[in-house]
């Protein structure tokens, strides 16, 4: 087994030996259900699509993903197991990727467990299932991007709480950037090209583009680039911390 797969398996198992994973899954499922049915008005809206479900995901991840990612490195550093991990025959990058993949698969499992809403919408009407597949894929990619940010920021600090707050703030900014109100605010103060550039950095904008049902390589590229950049930054940060 490759070192990355070994780390992924170990991490994934570690989620389920404590109640934390179950608590997380339950909170994720209950919150997504409540937000879809109550805040998103899914039933009374009378439209056979999952727009109210997916539109809440950035906000759901904003709270829940930092909770998953905060322990990734901060816990290892605090518990002193980081040195132990580094003594194993694997590189920092492999460890980072393994941990990230475990967390990403875990969030993927949470997403899979929302399958009743998919069945519900097919029971109620005839939705465009291609759009729903795209929505799930976009949501999972967005979760991956948030996780990569969390992984990096968890490497920055020893405190899980600090890691949580830092991740939340960065992800919040990336959500905010695409909001029309924020863009409107910047429109008066910044040149149009800069505002457009800011809009391209917006996580929500790319997520929405995918969840409309179109897989554009530019949007996929954005998420993959975000993940790659933050994970690399995390590896560099860990390396930096190891360097006296």
């Amino acid at each position: 087994m490759s070192p990355i797969a070994a780390v992924t398996r170990r991490e994934l198992r570690s989620y389920f030996v404590t109640p934390v994973a179950y608590v997380f899954l339950v909170i994720f499922l209950v919150l997504s259900g409540i937000l879809t049915f109550y805040a998103g008005d899914f039933y009374d809206r009378n439209q056979a699509d999952l727009q109210p479900f997916f539109v809440m995901h950035p906000w759901l991840y904003l709270v829940l993903v930092p909770a998953v990612s905060m322990r990734m490195w901060a816990e290892e550093a605090k518990g002193g197991t980081l040195e132990l991990l580094m003594s194993l025959p694997l590189t920092l990058a492999q460890a980072m990727l393994g941990k990230f993949l475990a967390a990403w698969i875990f969030i993927g499992l949470a997403l899979v467990l929302t399958f009743p809403i998919w069945i519900t919408v097919n029971y109620l009407g005839s939705p465009d299932n291609g759009v729903i597949v795209a929505g799930y894929l976009g949501s999972w990619l967005m979760a991956g991007a948030f996780l990569a940010i969390g992984a990096c920021l968890s490497a920055v600090t020893q405190s899980q709480v600090v890691a949580f707050v830092l991740t939340l703030v960065v992800c919040f900014l990336l959500i905010l950037v695409g909001q029309p109100q924020v863009m409107e605010f910047f429109q008066g103060a910044l040149p149009r090209k800069l505002v457009n550039a800011l809009a391209h950095l917006s996580m929500v904008r790319h997520f929405e583009a995918i969840s409309r049902g179109v897989l554009d390589l530019r949007d996929l590229m954005y998420f993959l680039a975000t993940m790659a950049a933050w994970l690399t930054a995390g590896v560099l940060t860990l390396d930096l911390k190891r360097t006296p």
Partner: protein, 634 residues
């Protein structure tokens, strides 16, 4: 010292790498937004993928065009439906721009109130709708204009006057299925250097008679605004020029064989044809019996060509439809419903065809109908049809009952068939003139499929069925349309004269998908409610009758007193009314309760059920783990 320097250098390298990474990320994300890369449209109706017809039009643009999408973004902050539709429109425009090899430029403008942009939106004739945030007007339309060749919209060519301008005044979400068609048509028309030519063969005086000062019919005047209409003389017609984008054949009577052959070959060579035939053409002014004793029934047919296309049409049959009969005034100033004169509403028009989709009403008179011959490979798509309450009668009967249309209702028996009054016929047509196979340029069959539009009425073209004239203050006659007959003809001509690429763009499925299960529940409840209401009405009628039967007793006695029977009857009725009202409320309540209960069940499954199962699984897993570890310790 040297060691320390090495350490510092390593940190510096890592920090520099971090900074470089951040810069690289920003550069990659920003530049990738400009790249045109692959994409996969996962929507089931390929909503975001252009049809080959549109791609063909966009690919073949001759000169650069500028598109300006006006959308009141500020004013629609609280209008999610409009915002999401705007996204769809912008997405489609961007896709067209991306495929245009730089020939299309797109600009999206938010015409805020009192701005220059708002003034220009109004200047281009865009239709604002009311009801935006803070009561602002909402503009949502597209303006396209031609740019000088080599001109660049972004670099100072703004002051050069655009040569031609076309606009879509409002992107109406209810026309979403024709979004692509509407935009492609705008591009196509902007790209055309001159008015398209339309050929006309008619034995009705549609072009008027300038000698006696007779004006052309309004339909023709409307067509002349958009097209260059060329009248063709059937007596001398041998061939139809290729520059004729569409050919209108109105009331073809005794067409010479050469003219029929010319039409045959025109269609087989890809020409676009529309034929108006009629079992009783009321505007036909030829005498029923001429000086040579030749009789004329005022009907028309194109039988040889119809049979080659697999179409059945009987010029001796007229469709009556009493449920769509128009009310007409008779000679004796009385009025009557005329079952041969029909006002066809939205239910009788095809909503999925671009020609009839946005029309409301078409008035027709003494119409025939089309059907497909057995064994034909052609396909018939109805554009106008009757209701199932229609009956077919000999045209002779209709002509005879001209002064007494009510006589047409004698022995009326609905045939339970939707008769097709106008249709597109599409198929692998073959020539109706196989004996001419040795002629130069003869074509025996069409490549692939050909398409013609057939209409079984000519009266719908005449002003009397759809135009009303009023005198304006200045004494000028003012025209107003009472039906969409004119639009129907313009739409047909528009559709047929466009390139075949434009013809191939059909309506898309709308992206709205309601909950069919809830709709079904609601429908069932409505039916129950209606049945209860009718029950109440019946009981009310019975009670009224009984009360009126008791009335003589009342009038014979004192006027302010009621008999005990009446009182009992009234009380009984009131009691029953209360009961039925309660039953009605119960039906309503039950229906709401059913829908609510369904919602509640779904909420429970989605919010509670799976989390509970996950918790149970977790507890079970934890319990088994702890038992295993206890056993190991033991």
């Amino acid at each position: 010292m040297s060691l320390k320097r090495i350490h510092i250098t390593r940190r510096a390298v890592l920090l520099a790498a971090l900074a470089a990474l951040a810069a690289l990320f920003v550069v990659v994300v920003l530049t990738s937004s400009r790249w045109r890369m692959g994409r996969v449209d996962l929507t089931s109706d390929q909503l975001y993928t252009l049809t080959p017809g549109t791609v063909h039009i966009v690919d073949g643009l001759h000169a650069p065009l500028r598109l300006t999408l006006y959308f009141s973004s500020h004013a629609t902050r609280d209008m999610p439906q409009w915002r999401s539709y705007e996204q769809r429109v912008a997405e489609m425009l961007q896709e067209m721009v991306a495929r245009s090899h730089g020939r299309l430029r797109l600009q999206i403008v938010d015409p805020v109130p009192y701005s220059d942009d708002e003034a220009s939106a109004e200047g281009y004739g865009l239709t604002p709708i009311n009801g935006g945030t803070n009561g602002e007007r909402v503009f949502f339309g597209l303006v396209g204009n031609t740019l000088p060749a080599g001109g660049d919209a972004d670099t100072g060519d703004e002051d050069r006057l655009p040569k031609r301008v076309q606009a879509i005044p409002l992107f109406d979400p209810s026309r979403e299925t024709f979004l692509e068609y509407d935009i492609a048509k705008l591009l196509y028309e902007l790209d055309q250097p001159s008015k398209p030519h339309i050929g006309l063969i008619s034995s009705l005086p549609v072009q008027g008679n300038p000698v006696i000062g007779e004006e052309p019919w309004t339909v023709m005047r409307q067509l002349a605004q958009q097209f260059d209409v060329k009248s063709l003389d059937p007596a001398r017609l041998k061939q139809i020029d290729g520059d004729i984008k569409a050919l209108l054949v109105i009331h073809p009577k005794h067409l010479p064989v050469d003219a029929q052959y010319a039409i045959d070959q025109y269609v087989l060579n890809g020409g676009h044809l529309v034929v108006f035939v009629d079992p009783v053409a009321e505007m036909d002014n030829t005498p029923f019996v001429d000086s040579n004793g030749v009789t004329d029934d005022h009907n028309s047919n194109l039988s040889r060509l119809f049979s080659a296309w697999g179409v059945l049409y009987d010029p001796q049959k007229v469709v009556l439809d009493r449920s769509r009969a128009l009310r007409i005034e008779l000679a004796d100033n009385s009025s009557s419903n005329h079952p041969a004169m029909l006002g066809l509403g939205q239910q009788e028009l095809n909503h999925d065809d671009v020609i009839t989709a946005s029309l409301q009403r078409i008035n027709v008179s003494s119409v025939g109908y089309f059907d497909l011959a057995q064994g034909t490979l052609s396909r018939l798509t109805p554009l106008l049809q009757s209701t199932t309450d229609a009956e077919v009668v000999p045209s002779q009967r209709v002509r005879e009952s001209i002064n007494n249309p009510a006589a047409l209702l004698d022995n009326y028996k609905p045939d339970n068939i939707h008769y097709v009054i106008a249709a597109r016929v599409r198929g692998p047509f073959t020539s109706a003139f196989p004996e001419r196979s040795n002629d130069k340029g003869y074509r025996a069959r069409v490549d692939g499929n050909a398409e013609v539009i057939l209409v079984a009425d000519t009266d719908l073209l005449s002003d009397r069925l759809w135009v009303s004239y009023a005198q304006s203050l200045l004494g000028q006659p003012q025209l107003s349309a009472i039906a969409n007959n004119g639009d129907l003809v313009t739409n047909i001509a528009d559709n047929l004269s466009g390139s075949s690429a434009l013809l191939s763009i059909h309506g898309r499925v709308s992206s709205q998908r309601p909950f069919t299960r809830v709709l079904a529940l609601r429908g069932a409840a409505d039916q129950k409610f209606l049945a209860k209401m009718q029950e109440l009405q019946r009981e009310l009628t019975v009670t009224r009758t009984r009360l009126s039967e008791l009335q003589p007793a009342k009038t014979s006695g004192r006027s302010d007193s009621t008999t005990p029977e009446q009182r009992a009857e009234i009380e009984q009725f009131l009691q029953r009314q209360l009961e039925v009202n309660k039953e009605l409320r119960d039906v309503q309540h039950q229906f709401n309760a059913e829908i609510d209960a369904l919602g509640l069940r779904l909420k429970f499954i989605n919010i509670v059920l799976i989390p509970v199962l996950v918790t149970l699984f977790g507890l079970l897993y934890g319990w088994r783990r702890s038992r295993r570890s206890r056993r190991k310790r033991a």
